[in-house]
Amino acid sequence: MSNLRRLIAGVFLAILISLLLTPAGWRVLPQGVESFFGIGQAIFNNYLLPFEVLSVLLLAALVGAVFLAKREGS
């Protein structure tokens, strides 16, 4: 069973390495709407309010996690 799992993992690793080492088929960095520049512009222009709400939510989650994981009595 363990040897079989190792064999399967080895086969997948070999496929992964062979795919990584062949240079053909890589997509180039996209331009226009789906570039990182466009996404950043969209976040800080159209979606600024959800971004700020999300920051408040992350802060609340941080405080809640600390409160829940705190040792009782101290």
């Binding site: 226009g32 976040i43 999300l54 939510l57 829940l68």
Partner: protein, 100 residues
């Protein structure tokens, strides 16, 4: 239309794995990992269709969803820590306080 099919297939497989793990496991950490797998399946779908329709809303929503997943993981792990202090186990089948 064609290149989206692969992404949707991967997303569906991930979603099935997440649902299966969520329904069959009692371990708290395993359930948290399965919820993360479900969220990532949804993220792959959003990014694929956003790329198909040349829209930025999907990418932005993926970023927000990753932040939500981070918050959920933090709160879930701290709930598990508190639970382990109470019942000395992370087996969710053994938690009987809020059930009848």
């Amino acid at each position: 239309m064609a290149p989206v099919a692969g992404y949707v297939a991967v997303s569906g497989v991930l979603f099935a794995i997440g649902i299966w793990g969520l329904l069959t496991s009692r371990n708290g950490i395993k359930i948290l990992i399965c919820v993360e797998i479900l969220l990532n399946a949804a993220n792959i779908n959003l990014a694929a269709f956003s790329s198909l329709w040349r829209s930025q809303a999907g990418y932005v929503f993926v970023l927000f969803s990753i932040a939500l997943a981070a918050a959920e993981a933090a709160v879930g792990l701290s709930i598990l820590i508190a639970l382990f202090r109470k019942v000395h186990s992370i087996d969710l089948g053994k938690v009987r306080r809020l059930r009848w």
